[in-house]
C-alpha cells in the first residue's frame, strides 16, 4: 500500500525569504484586528455583560420568531435579541441586564414565562448579575495573562531567551487575531470563549515549541550554516509533522463543529480558526522572529566553548 505523504520528502521551501511578504501581511492583520476590537468591539455574552439568556423549544411546530419578539417587546425589557438556534423549533433569547438589583433579573424570567405561555419547553436559562459578570471578566483576563507569563517562564528555562520572546510574540499575535475574528464575526464572547482562547494559546505554543526544538537541535548540528538557511531547514524538516498534526486536529474539530450541537459551535469555530492561525504563525512568524531578535549560531558555539573551557 502506498502511504499518503502530504509533504513530499525532499520539500525545501524558502520560508525565510517570504518574510518580506508575510511580515507586512501579518502586521496588517494584527493591526486590523486591534482596530476592529477598538471600534466594533467584542460581542460580550451575558457572562461578562450581565443579563439573561433563555433557550426555548416550541412543542407545537416551528417557532414564530417575529411573534416571540413582539410578545417580549411588550414587556419593556430593553434590548432583546431573538434568534433561531439550530432548528426551526429552537429559539435563543438574550435580554440585557435590568436595573441594578439582582431581584430585577429574577423578575424577567417570571415575566418571560408568562408572556410565552404554554407549548414552550425551557431548555436552558442563564442569568448573570452585573457584579458576577465583572468578576468573571477579571478572572478571564487574569487567566490569559497568567498563562502567558508562566509559559514564558517555562520556555525561558528550557531555551534561550530569544525563543521565549519569539514564542510569546507569536502567541500574542495569535490571540490578537483571534480576538479580531470574534469582533469581525460578532461571535458571542463568553466564558467558553476564554477557554477557546487559552486552548489556542496552548496549541500555538505547542506548534512553535516543536519548530524551536528542531532549530535548537540544528544549531548544534550545523554550526557553520547561515541562520536563515538553518531556520528554513528546521521548518522544512518539521513541516510534515506540522501539517499532519494540524490536519488531525482539524478533522476532530470539524466533526465537533458539524455534529456537536449549537451550544458549543462558536467555541469550536474559534478553535478551528485558532489551529489555522497557530499553524501559520509557527511556520511564518516564529522563526523569522528569531532573526529579528538576533539569535546567532555563535551564541550557541560560545556556550559550548565555555563548557569545554570549564571541563578542561
Amino acid at each position: 500500500m502506498k502511504l499518503l505523504r502530504l509533504v513530499p520528502d525532499k520539500t525545501n521551501l524558502r520560508f525565510m525569504s517570504w518574510r518580506r511578504v508575510s511580515y507586512p501581511f501579518t502586521a496588517f492583520v494584527a493591526i486590523a484586528s486591534i482596530a476592529l476590537f477598538l471600534t466594533v468591539g467584542l460581542n460580550y455574552g451575558i457572562d461578562f455583560k450581565g443579563g439573561s439568556l433563555i433557550e426555548i423549544k416550541t412543542t407545537d411546530g416551528p417557532a414564530n420568531i417575529g411573534e416571540i419578539r413582539g410578545k417580549l417587546g411588550d414587556l419593556n425589557l430593553g434590548d432583546i435579541q431573538v434568534q433561531e438556534f439550530g432548528s426551526p423549533e429552537e429559539v435563543l433569547i438574550r435580554i440585557e441586564h435590568q436595573g441594578d438589583a439582582d431581584a430585577d433579573q429574577q423578575e424577567v424570567l417570571t415575566n418571560v414565562r408568562q408572556a410565552l405561555g404554554e407549548n414552550v419547553e425551557f431548555r436552558r436559562t442563564e442569568i448573570v448579575g452585573p457584579r458576577v459578570s465583572g468578576e468573571l471578566a477579571q478572572a478571564g483576563i487574569m487567566a490569559v495573562g497568567g498563562a502567558l507569563v508562566l509559559i514564558l517562564f517555562y520556555i525561558w528555562i528550557r531555551f534561550e531567551w530569544h525563543f521565549a520572546v519569539g514564542a510569546i510574540l507569536t502567541t500574542l499575535n495569535d490571540i490578537i487575531v483571534t480576538i479580531g475574528l470574534f469582533s469581525l464575526l460578532q461571535l458571542d464572547f463568553t466564558l467558553s470563549s476564554i477557554a477557546a482562547v487559552l486552548t489556542i494559546l496552548g496549541y500555538s505554543l505547542n506548534d512553535t515549541v516543536v519548530v524551536y526544538d528542531r532549530v535548537r537541535e540544528n544549531l548544534r548540528r550545523y554550526k557553520k550554516l547561515p541562520l536563515d538557511e538553518l531556520l528554513d531547514r528546521s521548518i522544512n524538516e518539521t513541516l510534515a509533522r506540522t501539517v499532519n498534526t494540524s490536519l488531525t486536529t482539524l478533522l476532530a474539530l470539524f466533526a465537533l463543529y458539524i455534529f456537536g450541537g449549537e451550544v458549543i459551535q462558536s467555541f469550536v469555530l474559534a478553535m478551528i480558526f485558532g489551529v489555522v492561525i497557530g499553524t501559520y504563525s509557527s511556520v511564518f512568524l516564529a522563526c523569522p522572529f528569531l532573526i529579528m531578535l538576533k539569535l546567532r549560531p555563535s551564541a550557541f558555539r560560545k556556550e559550548e566553548d565555555d563548557n569545554k573551557a570549564i571541563q578542561a
Binding site: 433557550e55 425551557f122 431548555r123 436559562t125 498534526t245 455534529f259
Partner: protein, 535 residues
Amino acid sequence: MLYFARWKIALILLVVLAGVLATLPNFFSKSTLESWPDFLPKRQIVLGLDLQGGAYLLYEVDSEDYKQQQFRQLVGNVRQALRENPRIGYTGLGIQGDSVQVRIRDAAKIDEARARLNEQLNPLNTGVFGGQTVNEFQLDDQGDGLFRFTFTDDGLQQRLAKVVEQSIEVIRRRVDELGTTEPSIQRQGTDRILVEAPGESDPQRLKDIIGQTAQLTFHLVDDSMSPSQALQSRPPAGTMIVYGVEDQLPYLLDETPLLTGEELQDASVAFDQQTNEPVVNFRFNTAGARKFADVTRQNVNRPFAIVLDNEVISAPVIREPITGGSGQISGSFTVEGADNLAVLLRAGALPAKLNVIEERSVGPGLGADSIESGKIASYVGAAAVVIFMILTYGVFGVMSNVALFANVTLIFGVLTTLQATLTLPGIAGIVLTVGMAVDANVLIYERIREEMRAGRSAVSAIDAGYQRAMGTILDANITTLVAALILFFIGSGPVKGFAVTLMVGIFTTVFSAVTFSRFLVSTWYRRKRPSTLPI
C-alpha cells in the same frame, strides 16, 4: 533499545486494563451494575449539569438588608438603654444611611449617655484562642451631643460569615424537606452560597424554597386609629404599617411581635373542612404555647396579624383563648403554596435576605441532546482521525490508533475514578485531545522516517525516533498543561470541566502515545523482523 523488561510490560498492560475496567461501568445501566461482584468498579462518570440537566444557583447575602435589620434592632436597644432610670433625654434616634444616630439633649448627662451607648457595641467573640474580641459597631462622638453608630469592618465580616453559615444550615433543612433532589450546598467566598441541583430542570420551586427569608411573626392589630388615617398622618409610636400579601391593604400593627417563627415546633398542610382550601396547621413549642395562650386570653375579639417577610398573610379575629398551642393559617393558598410555607416554617427562617446573583439551568431535553450530539461528533471525529492515520502511516498508523483507543479509554477511566464532572466543553476537550494525541505519534513517526532517510537500520531508526521525539513531546505537552492548570484554577463551571479533561488527556496521552505505542511497535518488530520499515 526495543527491549522491554517483563515488569514493565506487566505494568503497561495493567494500566490499560485498569483503564478499561474503570470505564466499563459507563456502558451498563445502574441496575445491571448492582448484580456485579464487589471487586469490580461500579462507579459511573459524573455528568455535568449541562449534560444531565439541572440548576446552578449562586446566592449572595444581601448585606444592605442585613445591616438595616441589625440597625433596627440597635435602635430598639438604644431606646431602651436611654429610657432606663434615670432617663436620659434624647432626640432624632434613627437610621441615617449607613449609621444609627442619636442626639443627647442634656449636656450634663453626656458622659452617662456615652457609657450606656458604649454597652451597645455588641462585642463578638472571635472564638479563636478567645483572645481578641471584635465589636460589631463603633461609636463616634460627633460633638454637640450627637452620637453615631457604624459597623466595624471586622464586625460586619464576622457577622456575614455567621449568616452564611446559618443560611447554609437552613437551606439544607429546607431542601431535605423537599426530598426530591440532592443538591450540593457550598459556601463560596465570604458572603456567597452555591447551590447545585443536578436533575432539577425547573429550579423555580427550588428558588421559591431557598430564596424566601420566611421570617414569621405574630402581631396584635392596633385599633387606636384606622390604617388610612395612620398613613395620612403618622403611625403612633411603636406601631408600623404592613401591607397584605393578597389585597395590598394596609394594616396598622404593633411593632413588637407577640411571637415569632422561632417558637414554632411543627407545621403541616391540611384542608379546611368547610371551604376545602389548603391551610397550614402549626404548633408552638411549650414556651410559645404558654405565651400564645396568655396573649389570646387577654385579647379575645381583637384581630391579630400573621406576618411573613413583612407581608400580612392573614389577620383573623381571636374568638376564644387558644390554649392548645396550635393554630391555623388560612390565606387562600394554592396546594403548592401551602406546602412551601409548611416546609419553610419547619426549616426555620433565614437570618438575612439572599439574592440570586447567578443562575444557570438546563432542561433534561437539552442535556440529552447534548450528550447525543457529543457522542456523534466524537465518533465521527475519531473515525476521521483513525482513517487519516492509517492512510498516512500504514501499520504504524494502526498501532497509533490502538494507542489512541487506549488513550480515550484511560481518559474516561480516570474521569470516572476521580469522579470528575464531564461537561459539554469537557467532551470538546476530549475530542481535541484525540486530535492532539496523535501529534505525539506523528512527531515520532516523522522522526523515524527522517532517520530511515538518513540511512539508519530499522531498529536504530525506531529507537532514535522515539528517543529524539521525546524531548519535543514533553516540551509541547508541558506548555499545554500550564494553560490547562491556569484554566482549572481560575475558570469556573464549564471552563473548569474543559480544563479537567484537557489535563487528564495530557497525562494519558504521554503514557499511551509514548510508552504504550513504543511497546506495541517493539512487539510488532520482534515478531516480523522487517529489514525496512513500511512507514
